[in-house]
């Protein structure tokens, strides 16, 4: 199949202090997007919006988890340090008779000289069907992560899991890019440093962390939500209010194979009267470097509610707003010849006011 080629150029003002950015993944995303949206005859599509949560439930042996009750105090270090973060978002924008229409977008944000800059990639819109789900995913994965591919993709059996997998690929690419282009900086990830899952093979995440260490960057991975409990209570609920900012160490967390933790897990409360978050820091980073990196984060970034502003912006910039969803639905209807239909919501139809379906109004 001949695929329409789009000329991909690096955004002209991508002013990271590195000369080259790998363009293969966005190029392949675009190719797959355009390929999946090409139809031999007009299809109907049902408007239906649904956000996908990327954090899959990971089986960890947390019974032995213990939270160190001795806080490690953190001091702000105001030495200018570049802070960068990335995040991705995916959303289902509609359904066709053969599959789903999804959109994926990612953003890199960095802070330098007291101002924030970003690069945003997407939205890439895909029509995922049972027929093409493997082909689309494989093509995108091949474009960048040749070494760390999971053979056979045993996990890609469910159509609904595919969007988060594609978003995860984009996120890993963004993380790898940041880890490589930044020097002596802090790279903030959304989520944990857990590997060995279907969409995060160990080698893939390990490769990213190696690149980061080579460029003297420290990776800090913040999880907004955690299920880890110590003595039956969420670890983030056990954190003390006094003495902020501080870290609490955890011990005894043993993941069930093939899951591995490439980072040490902490509870971080980075500002006064703020929330505590699970924080994963690369296991290979020396202890002093970890504490110094957190000091630099506190000294250089805004920490509203204890969450780094750079990471917050990355999340905000890639999240789809309602009007963007409408615009994308408009795009697929206009450019791809899809015909919008309004199929009745069975929940509403059967249960009236008691039916809360997934309908989007």
């Amino acid at each position: 199949m001949v695929i329409e080629q789009y000329t991909i150029a690096t955004p002209p003002k991508y002013n990271f202090p590195q000369p080259t950015i790998d363009e293969a993944l966005p190029q392949r995303l675009l190719e797959q997007s355009m390929g999946s949206l090409r139809y031999p005859q007009p299809q109907h599509f049902q408007l239906n919006q649904q956000s996908f949560q990327q954090s899959a439930k990971i089986d960890l042996h947390a019974e032995t988890l213990q939270l160190g009750m001795q806080p490690i105090p953190l001091k702000p270090i105001h030495e200018e340090t570049q802070i960068a973060a990335c995040d991705t978002s995916t959303i289902k924008i509609g359904e066709t008779s053969t599959g789903i229409l999804i959109a994926v977008r990612g953003a890199n944000v960095w802070k330098k000289h007291r101002s924030y800059k970003y690069n945003r990639f997407g939205p890439f819109i895909f029509h995922i069907t049972e027929e093409n789900k493997k082909e689309v995913y494989d093509a995108i994965e091949r474009a960048y992560f040749v070494s760390g591919r999971v053979q056979g993709h045993p996990g890609i059996v469910n159509l609904m899991q595919n969007p988060t997998r594609i978003a995860s690929l984009l996120e890993r690419w963004l993380q790898a890019t940041l880890s490589r282009v930044l020097n002596n900086g802090i790279v903030l990830f959304d989520g944990s440093l857990t590997a060995g899952t279907v969409d995060t093979p160990i080698e893939r995440l390990r490769g990213i962390l190696v690149k980061a260490r080579e460029c003297k960057n420290v990776v800090l991975a913040f999880s907004k939500i955690t299920n880890l409990r110590a003595k039956g209570r969420l670890i983030t609920d056990l954190a003390l209010e006094r003495g902020t900012p501080y870290l609490l160490e955890t011990t005894g967390l043993k993941p069930k194979p093939p899951i591995v933790l490439l980072g040490d897990v902490y509870v971080a409360r980075l500002s006064h009267r703020s929330f505590a978050f699970r924080l994963d820091i690369d296991k290979e980073d020396p202890y002093e470097q970890r504490i110094e990196a957190l000091g630099k984060l506190i000294g250089n970034d805004v920490l509203s509610q204890g969450y780094p502003e750079t990471l917050r912006l990355a999340h905000i910039l890639c999240t789809f707003t309602a009007n963007e969803v409408i615009a994308m639905q408009h795009f697929v209807a206009r450019r791809c010849g899809l015909i919008i239909i309004n199929r009745p919501d069975m929940h509403r139809l059967l249960f009236g006011p008691f039916g809360r379906g997934e309908s989007y109004s």
Binding site: R120, T321, N323, I326, A327, H330, F331, R335
Partner: protein
């Protein structure tokens, strides 16, 4: 454009950035299946309430309100679609009529199909044709936004009460001159109370030459070429002047009536004899003093004379005007407030006399800032009694609250120029022939010389028109101190 909502006679229509629709425009909402269409007028243009717009705007602002700068790699060019959605507008429209089999009815009781209806702009010429606004006596008011002419029928001013209002320097007097000249052109008799001497040069072109209307414009300046002899005045007209303009008490008025009858019997109705009679009349001193002071007011007005050749017969001008069409301009420019009332009282009294005796068929009366010379009771007379006599008034004012509310309620046509003041708009919006939302929304944004025409002349389809220019000498300009310096 897409039909979004209908509430009462308000339609909400979703419009996209490539569809340029403005306030005042007419739209045709056509339901092919129902074989009917709604004619709706846009009275407001708002941003469509698109979900997520606030988030979109907010996310570009981090702490401190500084913009987050960045680059978007958007190969599918979704951004243009986002802008398209974000810039969608909501047109708030008033339903003006329903078209069915090319006939118009004011009904808005049916609901066109939201999914199947087509919405398009209705050009003014098409609307004029549908509404059959043009008649046998056309008056071109000016141009509409889509470069067509708005023509009204002079017969829709006949027997009607009209108001021309708007703030200063928006073109009210210009429009009243246009209407007047056109009425005169159709051989109508027009009387103008010209407060600022703006109409006295209507017979001249801009460069001071005589124009086609020269012979039809009769300017009467009280005290100069407009005087009256007592013997030409009827007692009730003079009593009207004494009671209403000069506030003569009832008892004194009764004595005056006796004096007047006595002098008339002796055929001695002159100013001199009247003065003598008041001085020598056997009556209460207070009554004498009251009569004497009013007598001197009449003398000082310079409007009354004993010389018959000096006196102008208003009737002569009126008859001349009725024969060929003409305007009698009562120039009140340099007339004091009391004298102004005396003259107006006289003119109206004589007009009613002529009309009740059917010596005159009907008269169009143009009154500028009427609150400055029209007595209280005349307002009610104008909307009730005078209409039956054949006096069809057009009020021209920049202070809409000086015109009584019942005048607005009874007004058949309103020519509304720009107002920005809420209070002024509130007053005008009490007019029965239009809804308050239309007045408030459209009049606020009218540029100078643009007028919102409401009422019977436009068959209740409010229309915005740029009043056409006329080649007449303008006299209504504001005198400026710094004019020569600029």
């Amino acid at each position: 454009m897409k039909l979004y909502r209908k509430e009462g006679n308000i339609l909400q229509i979703l419009s996209f950035p490539n569809e340029t629709v403005e306030k005042g425009d007419y739209l045709l909402v056509e339901d092919m299946e129902a074989r009917k269409a709604l004619i709706a007028q846009v009275i407001d243009v708002q941003f469509a309430s698109v979900p997520g717009v606030l988030e979109e705007l907010l996310r570009s602002l981090p702490d401190g309100g500084e913009l987050v700068l960045g680059e978007d790699f958007d190969p599918l060019e979704i951004a243009s679609h986002i802008n398209y959605i974000q810039d969608a507008s909501l047109l708030v429209c008033k339903i003006r009529a329903t078209v069915e089999n090319e006939n118009l009815s004011p009904s808005s009781s049916w609901l066109p199909s939201r999914s199947q209806s087509t919405i398009k702009r209705l050009p003014v010429p098409t609307l004029l044709k549908l509404a059959r606004i043009e008649g046998k006596l056309p008056i071109i008011l000016g141009g509409t936004k889509d470069s067509s002419l708005l023509t009204i029928d002079a017969s829709h001013l006949d027997g009607r009460l009209n108001i021309i209002t708007g703030k200063k320097e928006t073109g009210k007097s210009h429009l009243s001159k246009l209407l007047m000249i056109n009425l005169v052109g159709y051989k109508a008799t027009v009387v103008v109370f010209d407060l600022n001497g703006e109409y006295i040069s209507l017979g001249m072109t801009g460069d001071g030459k005589r124009n086609a209307h020269y012979d039809k414009i009769h300017v009467l300046t009280p005290g100069q070429n407009f005087k009256t002899a007592l013997k030409h005045v009827n007692l009730h007209v003079l009593l009207g002047i004494l009671i209403h303009a000069l506030h003569l008490p009832g008892t004194s008025a009764r004595e005056f009536r006796r004096i007047w009858q006595s002098l008339r019997e002796k055929d001695m109705l002159t100013l001199h004899e009247l003065g003598e009679a008041i001085r020598n009349w056997n009556c209460n001193q207070l009554v004498r003093d009251a009569l004497s002071s009013r007598y001197h007011a009449l003398i000082n007005s310079g409007f009354f004379t004993d010389s018959v050749c000096e006196a102008t017969l208003l009737e002569d001008s009126l008859f001349k005007a009725e024969e060929h069409g003409g305007a009698i301009v009562i120039n009140l420019r340099n007339t004091s407030a009391i004298d102004r009332q005396v003259v107006v009282e006289y003119v109206l009294g004589r007009l009613v006399e002529q009309l009740t005796s059917w010596k005159l068929k009907a008269t169009f009366l143009f009154a500028e800032e009427a609150h400055l010379y029209l007595r209280e009771t005349y307002w009610d007379d104008i909307v009730t009694r005078m209409r039956h006599f054949g006096i069809f008034t057009t009020f021209i004012t920049n202070q809409p609250d000086t015109v009584k509310e019942n005048i607005y309620r009874q007004a058949d046509n309103i020519f509304l120029f720009n107002f920005t003041n809420e209070h002024d708009l509130e007053v005008v919006s009490r007019a029965a022939r239009v809804d308050a939302e239309t007045v408030k929304s459209i009049a606020r944004d009218l540029p100078p010389h643009h007028c919102l025409v409401l009422g019977k002349v436009v068959k209740d389809f409010p229309m915005v028109v740029k009043v056409k220019a006329m080649d007449v000498k303008t006299m209504g300009e504001t005198r400026l101190f710094f004019k020569d310096m600029n």
